[in-house]
């Protein structure tokens, strides 16, 4: 196992100060290692996740070569040649487990933002005090965006949140963590070969959830109540102005309807299985602002900083095997890449809806490694 940094590098280097997992502690489980602390319903800080992953590395005696950067992987006669910062390795198979979120995605019009406004990605952001004075425009209303918007607003700053399509969820439903429902009802186990539109499902943004004491819901209504101003999806920069979509109502409707369908699924499952839960709940529709701004003068001083919470993407600049599609995404079927002996883990909906979560990789890994073992044994494994 080759790691450019240290074990649990992404949790050490790529999270802001107040970060907590949005998955509850009891869900942080790796093969043979479960959370055993006093607060199974709590949410780990980045430091706790680091310790958890370190504990797993020690438990499994994982042969990790840390401080070793993979700079190239290319095909050879009988497998792959891996070039690292510490020399070359020849191998018959390679598993790409370099993560789905190496680079923050930022739209191209970021270049047109006037230089007087500081721009940050979630990987630059640490805490509100480090931002320049003034208001903050947070772009993107998925997990990262809603969390940072709330934290910035609480620090006393004016915050504008630009909202595109998003996934709304209550923190708890019928007395249980909503992610308990995702797990128990089987939604998270839906397989890649069962999901009706796999390409779309892979693009699904992270849910509007935050992990913290009190298990509070952090949907757009909660943000509105805190005084965060909502605007539509940021579409373009023109003459130093940000132009926002006028389609805000519809992204609210889409998210409200999608949440209701999911809650219906939970209710149907509960009806059939009789778990110990409270009565069904329904939530207030997302409140539409009186009149959402369509443009914002970026030079006027109202905004001192922009935080791009517009998602992440993997970095494959080191991968010299022709397995990327036109958009730079890895072509693979359930983690089996389009080149014999090349595999991937930890990508969105690799094999299941839970594939990108800490606890979701185990089942994928078993199946992918089965295939890999078959490849090494010279047989064509199925699936």
């Amino acid at each position: 196992m080759i790691e450019r940094g240290e074990v649990a590098n992404s949790w050490r280097r790529e999270r802001w100060d107040s970060f907590r997992l949005l998955t509850p502690n009891w869900q942080s489980r790796l093969p043979g290692l479960a959370y055993e602390g006093p607060d199974p319903d709590g949410y780990m800080t980045a430091k706790e996740v680091t310790q958890f992953v370190e504990g797993f590395a020690a438990l499994t005696r994982a042969p990790v070569r840390t401080g070793t950067d993979v700079t190239s992987v290319r095909q050879s006669d009988d497998g792959y040649r891996v070039t690292t910062s510490h020399g070359e390795i020849a191998c018959r198979t390679v598993v790409i487990a370099s993560g789905a979120c190496n680079l923050p995605s930022v739209p191209p019009f970021a270049e047109a933002v006037p230089p007087s406004v500081e721009q940050l990605t979630p990987y630059d952001y640490r805490e509100p005090g480090r931002l320049p004075d003034g208001g903050v425009l947070v772009v993107g209303a998925s997990a990262t965006g809603v969390q940072l918007a709330a934290e910035l607003r609480r620090s006393g700053r004016p915050v504008i949140l630009s909202v595109g399509e998003h996934v709304r969820l209550p923190r708890t439903y019928r007395g249980r963590d909503v992610l308990w429902w995702m797990d128990a009802s089987g939604v998270w186990d839906q397989r890649h070969d069962e999901v009706p539109d796999l390409a779309r499902a892979k693009r699904l943004p992270s849910p509007q959830l935050v992990g913290g004491p009190g298990r509070t819901t952090l949907d757009l209504n909660a943000l509105t109540s805190m005084g965060v101003e909502l605007v539509g999806r940021w579409a373009a920069v023109r003459d130093g102005h940000a132009l926002f979509s006028g389609g805000l109502r519809n992204v609210f409707s889409l998210a409200d309807l999608k949440m209701e369908r999911l809650l219906d699924t939970f209710d149907a499952w509960a009806g059939a299985h009789g778990p110990d839960v409270g009565p069904p709940e329904r939530f207030e529709p997302t409140r539409v602002p009186e009149s959402a701004r369509l443009r914002l003068d970026l030079r006027g001083g109202e905004i001192g900083a922009i935080v791009w919470a517009t998602g992440f993407r993997p970095d494959y600049r080191w991968l010299d095997v022709p397995v990327l599609d036109g958009k730079g995404r890895l072509r693979h079927d359930g983690g089996v890449a389009d080149s014999p002996g090349l595999y991937a883990l930890g990508l969105p909906l690799l094999r299941r809806r839970k594939s990108t979560f800490i606890h979701g990789i185990e089942a994928d890994a078993r199946e992918v490694i089965d295939h890999l073992a078959g490849h090494l044994a010279g047989r064509e494994a199925g699936g």
Binding site: A235, R238, G246, G247, E260
Partner: protein, 183 residues
Amino acid sequence: MTTTVANGVNVQALLDAREALKDAPEAAQFVWRASSTWRNGVHSTTTVKEFYGLGEERAHKSEAVFDADHPEVFAAEDNGVTPIEYLLVGLASCLTAGVASVAQNRGIQLRSVEATLEGAHDIRGILGVDPDVRNGFNDIKVTFHIDADASKQDIEALVAQSQKRSAVFDALTNPTNVTVDVA
């Protein structure tokens, strides 16, 4: 399910096109065209016939002619609807087409789909009375009345999905680069 529903939309053809164009972005490039002629006053006539798509020049079965003018309260002859009203025509027809297509795809039989549209327009903008008032619509409100074999929630989802996939909804809610040249 879908086979028993007849909304008159060939969803299979649309799904096939979506599949075929996945790896052929060039073929997906369309150019829609219109040409207009000034008549008199603020009256003009615009015709639409030819367009480009799937790699070649194409044409509608017949040419369509649209008269645009201003109403008499604008001291005009009212030979046709106001240009900005054509935006409502475009939006209504685009969203309605979307509702029918999505319904077909989801196996929902439609019995009737009616929409009423209202565009709130402060004409002080175009008259140059107040520079803080914009020229275009301040707000557009669309109200659908849909009778279909589906729950209220499913009907709302149809309408939401139709907006999500609508060309005119996008063109109205998002900025578009417009170049106007004199040849």
